[in-house]
């Protein structure tokens, strides 16, 4: 009776990545791959739009050297899809580490019981890292305007003075170095924190915790810079002429809330499967608050960026919203508003009351809304600049989402098996087990 009474629950839990889950994930990946192949075949046969003009005249135009760089090829849609998903899942993965790092720095106690879940997320980073690096090196000109041949060469017919003015930052060597640095630093620091945490399970004490605070803080310093620069490099640089001073924050907000939704969803689903018994309603309540608050934060930043551009109405800035609102035959208008609806309206209304944050089903609805919503967020940010009017929702899009999601779940599940599901010797665990927000 009373709030102070807590059942003593065991903290010894071993997650089992069952053969059945593995089989389901493999089936998911198989369906994803099949969808991608079917979609790619359809696209290559001209199933997309914009190929009607490819008669003799279109063919001639393609060969005219002047327009070669703007000629659309169906593979661009494949590349863009890979890029959207890689950027999205790289963000979700790294946010796991971000969450750990700021919880360490704040010496937060409440989160100790479920910290193995965010801890498992960054393990997926190498997958998007390799895809992003391969695409940037091999197919950069299909994604980035500034990578086009001769764009920074004054003697070239493709010369663009504005883009050439950004050469100091947007040049291939520096760009590739940055990409390697991002993933190297994120993954490396995650490895350090992860090993400290797993070792803590065996040796106890507070030494590893103190070290984790230091390395976590180092990561926060790194991420403070790289979250912005990576947002420019992954997304903003696609619309090379355009820029927004809000963009780093905006993308971080998007990644962050998507990562929090992933964490919350994972925790709720683990609980449903009988794991994480020590996670109580107060933990769920606070996770719900996190999702609620950072959905509003994302909306705040999204709107701030929009309002500045809308109010000033400078053509070179307003074009960005023009393209998404009414450009390319208006195909981006739906994703643009779906984005706002799923990422603001749903979580705002659904997670507003206290009881809803304590109800697993409602948490799941809100988290799915956020996760789908932020896919649309990256979709509307990336696609207009890479494929423009050729975008759409077909087998390729769904296939890639399925492939990435299954691979991500596989990676997280594998990581969860690598240690006790609850960090049994974490110095804050006792506080976390008694977490009570009434």
């Amino acid at each position: 009776m009373g709030a102070h009474h807590h059942e003593v629950v065991s903290v010894e839990e071993q997650f089992e990545f069952t053969a059945e889950s593995k089989r389901n994930l493999l089936i998911g990946m198989g369906i994803g791959a099949a969808l991608v192949l079917i979609g790619a075949y359809m696209l290559s046969q001209g199933g997309g739009h914009g190929h009607e003009a490819h008669g003799a005249a279109g063919h001639a135009a393609e060969h005219a050297h002047d327009h070669a760089e703007h000629a659309y090829h169906w593979t661009q849609r494949i590349i863009s899809n890979l890029w959207v998903n890689s950027v999205y899942f790289a963000g979700i993965s790294v946010v796991g580490l971000f969450f750990l790092a700021y919880n360490n720095l704040a010496q937060a106690g409440w989160s100790a019981v479920f910290r193995r879940i965010p801890e498992a997320m960054p393990a997926f980073l190498p997958v998007p890292a390799i895809i992003i690096l391969v695409l940037a090196v091999g197919f950069g000109d299909k994604l980035f305007h500034w990578m086009h041949e001769g764009i920074m060469d004054p003697s070239s017919p493709h010369y663009d003075a504005i883009i050439a003015g950004k050469k100091g930052f947007l040049n291939k060597p520096f760009y590739f170095i940055r990409l390697v640095l991002y993933f190297g630093l994120w993954y490396g620091l995650w490895k350090v924190l992860r090993n400290l945490s797993l070792q803590e399970d065996e040796i106890g004490g507070t030494e590893n915790y103190e070290k984790a605070i230091k390395f976590g803080t180092a990561f926060l310093l790194v991420f403070g810079v790289t979250s912005s620069t990576s947002a420019w490099d992954f997304v903003m640089a696609i619309d090379t002429h355009w820029f927004s001073t809000m963009f780093g924050w905006y993308t971080l907000a998007s990644w962050h809330v998507a990562g929090l939704a992933t964490m919350t969803l994972t925790i709720v689903m683990l609980k449903e499967r009988g794991y994480l018994k020590a996670v109580n309603e107060s933990h769920l309540h606070d996770l719900g608050k996190f999702c609620f608050a950072f959905s509003i934060f994302w909306t705040y930043v999204w709107f701030s960026q929009f309002l500045l551009i809308y109010y000033a109405n400078l053509p070179e800035e307003a074009i960005y919203y023009r393209e998404r609102f009414s450009g390319y035959g208006g195909i981006y208008k739906a994703p643009f508003f779906i984005n706002l609806f799923l990422n603001f309206v749903t979580p705002f209304l659904v997670l507003m009351t206290r009881d809803s944050k304590r109800t697993p089903l409602i948490l799941k609805i809100a988290c799915w809304s956020i996760l789908v919503g932020h896919y649309f967020d990256f979709y509307t940010n990336i696609m207009p600049g890479t494929v423009g009017e050729h975008a759409g929702f077909g087998p390729v899009e769904f296939g890639f989402i399925l492939l990435f999601a299954c691979a991500f779940i596989w990676s997280v599940s594998t990581q969860l098996t690598k240690g006790n599901l609850i960090p049994r010797n974490h110095p804050m665990l006792e506080e976390s087990l008694h977490h009570d927000v009434a």
């Binding site: 009776m1 009373g2 709030a3 102070h4 309002l307 109405n313 009351t353 009434a438």
Partner: protein, 175 residues
């Protein structure tokens, strides 16, 4: 906020854990506790005493909604009906411009409304004499008040219960 000449039994505790345990003990003996006064918030105390959950969240939502509607009315009336002005080439009634106003008024109404609600429901105000059973509850003591008129048990019975639960001092106060 209190009727004149109400009799309260007041117990003074030295330790918050003892006070919380005392609340559970006394309540399980069937005594209704009026309130426990403490220099800091004691986790779980409100639940232990049996206070109903606060409804301030509902009040906040209503105030926020009022503020939001006021902002819509204000901007629509001033810019759309009474004195339309073209600013920055925008239509006089372009709502994206007014979202900051809606946001601000929602927050303003919510904050003020909640503060006023809090003061009213707690009987606090500039001229109101606060109900203070023992001034040491603002410093280092934990003070439990039991409304004797709301309890069937006799004064002596309750007093011995309170004493047994670890109270340092037990007294009866008329307010």
């Amino acid at each position: 906020m209190t009727d004149a000449n109400k009799k309260f039994l007041v117990g003074v505790y030295d330790d918050d854990d003892v006070a919380l345990a005392a609340v559970n003990k006394i309540k399980s003996a069937g005594v209704k506790i009026y309130e426990v006064y403490s220099p800091f918030a004691i986790h779980g105390m409100d639940i232990a005493i049996g206070h109903p959950r606060t409804r301030i969240g509902i009040a906040a939502f209503c105030f926020g909604l009022t503020g939001f509607l006021c902002a819509i009315t204000l901007t629509t009336w001033t810019m759309g009906i009474d004195w339309p002005m073209v600013i920055g080439g925008k239509d006089p009634l372009s709502y994206p411009n007014y979202i900051p106003i809606m946001f601000e008024l929602t927050v303003l109404f919510t904050a003020f409304g909640m503060t006023i609600t809090f003061f009213l429901s707690n009987g606090l105000g500039p001229t109101v004499e606060p109900l203070l059973f023992d001034p040491r509850c603002t410093d280092n003591k934990f003070v439990m008040a039991i409304d004797l008129s709301k309890n069937k048990m006799s004064e002596a019975e309750i007093a011995s219960l309170v004493k047994a639960s670890g109270a340092e001092e037990v007294s009866v106060k008329q307010v």
